[in-house]
């Protein structure tokens, strides 16, 4: 396994990859309001909170599938809230997304799944695209399974294949939605180590939606916590720092896994 990550870099020294200003998310009514957050280039940021607090809705807004109710989200200098369709298409090539269940295309092999974005957006010969797809699958430990269908591999392998597909166009940002959900602890730890290795070696920014504490403390450089009851971003910082020293009782209880009855 790769060596542990370097200590969390100081935010002030890093450029911003994604900037959120006054963002409100929700459907008919806001779930979370007034999010101000700078996601830094090359960091592993976890976004967490209780069930139903708007984590996945926020991910949909960050990945341009939904527009926030208010505020601005800037990716690579483009405000994706106001951008037209052409600009949005350009921004979408700047990030890859791994969905909670993998969302691999069922009728295609893993190789074909990873090749698909290359076929659409890269003008390369078939054998070169194959080798790039094989390299991406190798990076997530699936080099020997390139010709298998998603239905022939386990849930953990499907998630890794989905990460390989998200890496296909070498995007500087990757969003992961609940990567550890439903995985056994060893597979989950393997996945964490792989994310950390890719972050360190490729400098890729990872934005991970999760409330898996083990993963947050293992590889999270910063943790942003949403609270659906107060409808706001209640904490942002190094996970262990927040766990031990946050001013917010709910944040400490969440990160220390304290049951409601004990509060």
């Amino acid at each position: 396994m790769p060596a542990p990550a370097a200590p969390a870099p100081q935010p002030a020294t890093r450029e911003t990859a994604i900037s959120l200003r006054g963002v409100s998310i929700g459907y008919d009514r806001p779930i979370i309001e007034g999010i101000d957050l700078d996601i830094l280039k090359g960091e592993i940021l976890f976004i967490g909170g209780g069930s139903g607090c708007g984590k996945t809705t926020l991910l949909s807004c960050l990945t341009t599938l939904r527009r926030p109710l208010a505020g601005s989200i800037t990716i690579d200098g483009v405000d994706i809230v106001k951008a037209d369709d052409d600009a949005i298409r350009g921004v979408r090539r700047r990030f890859g997304v791994m969905y909670q269940l993998g969302a691999l295309f069922g009728g295609k092999t893993l190789l074909e799944n990873v090749r698909l974005p290359l076929e659409e957006f890269a003008d390369l010969p078939n054998d070169v695209m194959d080798d790039i797809a094989r390299a991406k699958l190798g990076l997530v430990g699936l080099g020997a399974h390139a010709l298998k269908q998603p239905s022939e591999i386990s849930g953990g392998m499907q998630k890794r294949a989905a990460i390989a597909r998200a890496l296909a166009l070498d995007p500087p940002i990757i969003f992961l939605d609940e990567p550890s959900a439903g995985l056994d602890p060893v597979t989950s730890a393997d996945l964490d180590a792989m994310i950390e290795a890719l972050n360190r070696m490729l400098g890729t920014t990872f934005v991970i939606i999760s409330h898996e504490l083990a993963s947050i403390f293992a590889i999270g450089q910063r943790f942003a916590m949403l609270d659906g009851a107060r409808k706001k971003l209640v904490a942002l910082g190094a996970p262990s720092e927040l766990r031990d020293h946050s001013d917010d009782e709910w944040v400490r209880r969440f990160l220390n896994r304290v049951p409601t009855q004990e509060s």
Binding site: P2, R93, R94, F105, G106, G107, F121, A122, D123, L124, P125, D127, V128, D131, I132, R134, A135, K136, G138, L139, G141, L142, G143, A144, H145, L147, Q149, P150, S151, L167, L169, D170, P171, A197, L198, R200, M201, L202
Partner: protein, 376 residues
């Protein structure tokens, strides 16, 4: 990300050594340049390797995940020719990146495609297995039906009535429209040939007999296969994929009694009714063509009444009921036999519709011959 081109020439030194070939690219090896690097290599690499391959990264300034595919390509090339592969000039991180990417990349023997005879044999066995499965399933349904006759309180009456509404009354409009149009088309197409023999009014006979005995049940059953057979396969197939069927079984509830029987009873009751409806509108459709030709409604209905027999009417009803049983059984069976994976429900649905229509046509031929032999 900019669109990557196949790339211009890229600086890659290729030198043959005693132990094999050394490849030393320069500059950035990344998503932008990999196309050019590979083009250069295609020209410079010897057509046949005489030894191992060494990738020298000492002059590479930037290497990204797409650039690593160069190592994958050379590794597979060397291993495929039975030689070794080595990386030099890489720092710890690059070596780790390449080591990760090369895991499990040894070229594998492609799976041998089965021969023609084997494929035909496998397809034949699959068809036989499918027929055996269907017969076994109908037997299973029969056993559950026997149980329900003894213990009728186990029949899910509410589900059966809901299925009758969904697969019966909701189909009235489309079945009626098609029945009407079929009747009109038959009258329209047969009018001129019949007129040559001075038998214009007998077009009513043709319409009545063909619609009531044959096309009414057939059209109704084909709509049933498309509407309801596919819905059964999709509903039950989705339940299987989401483990709802497993949940039923672990409660001790038989999925055949719980899911299949209500649908089967519902379609067996409503399909003959829909068939009668299609036949009535088919006869009406025939009059739409004959009316403007000067025949009165009384003449038309009198001719239709003479052409139809109780036997012919019952023949249509029996066919509709048999088709309904086949469509419902095949739809439900396809759902219960749904495999794993996201495409499985789609496959089941397609299978339900195609197999349903094929079964309808085969059953129609057999029943036609049967009724002819009995002179009904």
């Amino acid at each position: 990300m900019s669109r990557r081109s196949k790339g211009a020439d890229a600086p890659v030194a290729v030198s043959e050594e005693a132990g094999g070939v050394r490849i030393a690219p320069e500059g950035a090896i990344d998503a932008e340049s990999i196309g050019g690097v590979r083009e250069t290599l295609a020209r410079k690499l010897p057509s046949r390797l005489s030894g191992g391959v060494t990738l020298d990264l000492s002059k590479v300034t930037h290497l990204d995940a797409s650039g690593v595919s160069l190592a994958v390509f050379l590794f597979r090339l060397a291993k495929g020719a039975g030689f070794g592969f080595e990386v030099t000039g890489a720092d710890k991180d690059r070596r780790l990146l390449i080591d990760l990417a090369l895991r499990g990349q040894e070229p594998q023997e492609p799976a041998k495609a089965p021969g023609f005879v084997r494929e035909v044999g496998a397809a034949s066995i699959a068809i036989r297995d499918g027929v055996v499965d269907l017969v076994r399933f109908i037997g299973e349904i029969a056993l559950v039906c026997v149980h329900l006759v003894r213990a009728p309180q186990h029949l899910r009456v509410g589900d059966t009535i809901a299925a009758m509404a969904r697969h019966g009354s909701d189909a009235i409009a489309v079945v009626g429209l098609l029945g009407f149009l079929i009747g009109a088309i038959i009258a329209f197409q047969t009018f001129d040939p019949m007129a040559k023999y001075g038998a214009k009014l007998q077009v009513a006979d043709v319409v009545a007999v063909s619609v009531v005995r044959e096309l009414g049940p057939l059209i109704t059953a084909i709509i049933l296969a498309g509407r309801s057979g596919s819905a059964f396969a999709a509903e039950i197939g989705t339940m299987k994929v989401t483990q709802e069927l497993d949940a039923l079984r672990t409660f001790g509830i038989d999925p055949v009694r719980f899911l299949v029987i209500p649908r089967l009873i519902a379609t067996t009751i409503v399909t003959p009714m829909l068939s009668i409806w299609a036949s009535i509108l088919g006869v009406v459709g025939g009059y739409v063509i004959l009316g403007p030709e000067g025949f009165t409604l009384a003449q038309y209905t009198d001719e239709v009444r003479q052409a139809l027999t109780v036997g012919g009417f019952l023949q249509g009803l029996v066919k509709a009921a048999v088709f309904a049983i086949l469509v419902a059984a095949i739809g439900c069976l396809s759902g219960l036999r749904t495999g794993q994976g996201p495409g499985a429900v789609g496959l089941s649905t397609t299978r339900a519709v195609v197999a349903g229509i094929v079964a309808i046509i085969i059953a129609d031929s057999i029943l036609g011959a049967f009724f002819y032999t009995l002179d009904i």
